[in-house]
Symmetry: C2
Subunit: 406 residues, 2 copies
């Protein structure tokens, strides 16, 4: 279902030939309203890709009617020509939708790209693909009319799945999630398997809802949701140039939700998608949840959790099913979080292998055979708790990333 | 030659049975004076190992007469018993040297340990080993008297090599270096193959000189030398709990050098040892020198260089001989260094693959077949230049570190 679960949205994904593999590589999401409220958070990388620069402009008025997304090329570090290409993608998408009867301009179209940095997109293929995907996405409301017999796109679940496939790069599975709120639906799709690190997102995520939520409230809800979901996954400590998390509200359910309840539902969906990203991280064989307890502040807990999550040595140890708590402490010891070194406890999969900063229960008692690994760190310095999700470091990660661009 | 190249020093390394492999695992360095000046820098990790805590105390008066070093166990995160064990090692060493006629107390003995974190040392083996290594290190001046016929230790080159072997953990080769100053000699040995990251040292380094340099000047010279050598290598971004760089001056050459000239010689030696560490980093197949040019400040250049050096994605790309400059920029883009994103140039092995933050010369022109890889980043924001050394990320690194403690 993904982005087509909520009423008022159509989506589609096609193979435009951008990827040499011939797989799906171009997706569209159309918001048929009545509302066109949108909110987004983008990468904080200082080399934002051309589509990020474009979409930041589009988002400023809090409204957008469509998103066009390509995989097979990030259009990052591509200079003025790259920005012109993102602009062209928006123009072409708007023109094609106008031809289908929508009142829409380039300034209503968000653009996202993902793939290799530093190469221009094959714009002939991209432009032809945009024309095709706009045709394939069908007419507004087609999904609500099964008698149309169309399987080609629009709001059908098959179309949502096609769109989720079209944004994949090194992902091995599409990631989608749906939540039902009180009288409305929130659905989303995500991609991202490498270059996953907070600050903010480091992935592409598209979320739709048929709730009626104004742009400002949507923005606040999204910022809360991402801060405790996508901002707390860290696959490899590398921040992308192209990250974006976009939420669009069609208002089609004619339901203005309680904003706190909506934020809770949205957050739950974001956590689900974030964990799907980590579970499919490049080469990973273990999913690791690091919870820092009893921290003096949330920022302390987050710094400690992230730093531990970025230790290559710890990630290798987990890969080897070695409950090497010394590598947890040696990472923690580089942070500025408040703690006394002889007060810290560390439990791995429930066994307190480190107690008071020293040797705890025997590490032989830790069962590391499952894919999920749970690390609990107790700082004994306060009451804040934060969980950060990461994965192990494997030879497959090395292989995949030493061969990616060649 | 290593630490026995300078007059006034004896050294030895033996197999005390601490390592299950039966390899050398216990080393001693004795300074026979006349000066006992010493300076040291230790890890800034907030979980400093017991021997670091001990040695920090010893160093406070600027004098020390011996260093006892074991591999096969880090004695880190071992609580009060671990500290008592470091104290015992110093006591035992002093007592054994006293039995050989030296006037020395535990407060004159520095202690260093390296190996797995979180396990107590086998003190019966360590104590017996200390007695043996003190015998084997021979009597003062034996090295200066070839007619003694002794091959058992003291200041001979064989003994210096044995000591360098005894401090190895995952190192594949011992690291030693010697420099001749104006009327004096500086020699050193180092270990470290993983957990290499600045802040400060993340390795064990022992340096001796027969120059007559007071402790305060020695300290200043050492801090300068480490700041531009060991502080600028970053193998895996992981900071050890046991790092120490120690320099001892015997004054035996009866030469008080110009301190600037001495600092230059010491720095040159430290850069040599630092590069030997990186060249033997765990699993590495490429040595990477990242130079950040035209930075607004030295700290900007250092931050940029370190951040690029820590990108797992870049390190994988280099392993795959892929001049993936997009991964240089995506790492640089997470820093706070001053630069305009459309002004940055990146050259890999002399080919400017990125110009003005965008596509430069064809990446196909880059020859990546050699072990040495040179990355030059031009920020166009000032006049500061810093080089940081790192290595690639390989499947061998993953393998070595997923099996290390088991």
């Amino acid at each position: 279902m993904s982005v087509t679960a909520a009423q008022g949205f159509r989506a589609q994904g096609i193979a435009a030939g951008i990827k040499p593999s011939g797989r799906r590589d171009l997706a569209i999401i159309v918001n048929d309203g009545p509302s066109d409220a949108v909110a987004a958070v983008f990468t904080s990388n200082r080399f934002p890709a051309a589509p990020v620069l474009w979409s930041r402009q589009v988002i400023t008025d809090g409204s957008a009617r469509a998103v066009i997304v390509n995989s097979g090329g990030a259009n990052a570090c591509t200079g003025p020509q790259g920005f012109a290409d993102s602009h062209t993608m928006a123009e072409r998408t708007a023109a094609a939708l106008q031809a289908g009867g929508r009142d829409i301009g380039a300034g209503d179209v968000l653009v996202c790209s993902t793939g290799l940095i530093g190469e221009l997109l094959p714009m002939d293929l991209v432009n032809a693909g945009i024309d095709t995907v706009v045709v394939d996405v069908g007419a507004p409301g087609a999904a609500d009319d099964p008698s149309s017999g169309s399987m080609s796109g629009d709001g059908s679940s098959m179309a949502g799945q096609s769109a989720a496939q079209a944004i994949m790069t090194t992902d091995t599975v599409p990631k989608t999630a749906v939540r039902e709120g009180d009288g409305y639906v929130v659905g989303g799709m995500a991609k991202g398997a490498g270059m996953l690190a907070p600050g903010l997102a480091t992935m592409l995520v598209f979320i739709t809802t048929d709730a009626d939520v104004p742009a400002a409230a949507l923005d606040a809800a999204l910022r809360h949701a991402t801060s405790v979901s996508f901002d707390r996954i860290d696959s490899d400590g590398c921040m992308s140039t192209n990250d974006a998390v976009i939420v669009m509200a069609s208002g089609s359910a004619e339901m203005a939700p309680d904003i706190d309840e909506f934020t809770t539902v949205l957050t739950d969906l974001c956590v689900d998608l974030a964990q799907q990203l980590i579970a499919d991280a490049e080469g990973a064989s273990k999913d690791i949840a690091i919870t820092v307890h009893e921290a003096a502040s949330e920022s302390d807990a987050l710094e400690a959790g992230r730093t531990i999550a970025r230790s290559n040595l710890l990630k290798c140890a987990i890969h080897g099913e070695d409950p090497n708590w010394g590598r947890v402490l040696s990472a923690l010891g580089t942070t500025t979080a408040a703690f006394e070194s002889d007060h810290v406890d560390v439990a791995i999969n429930g066994v307190t292998v480190c107690r008071g900063g020293g040797v705890g229960d025997p590490r032989e008692g830790v069962d590391m055979s499952q894919r999920d690994v749970v690390i609990d760190v107790h700082l004994k310095a306060g009451t804040s708790t934060v969980t950060v999700w990461t994965n192990d470091l494997t030879a497959d990660y090395v292989h995949e990333n030493s061969a990616y661009s060649t």
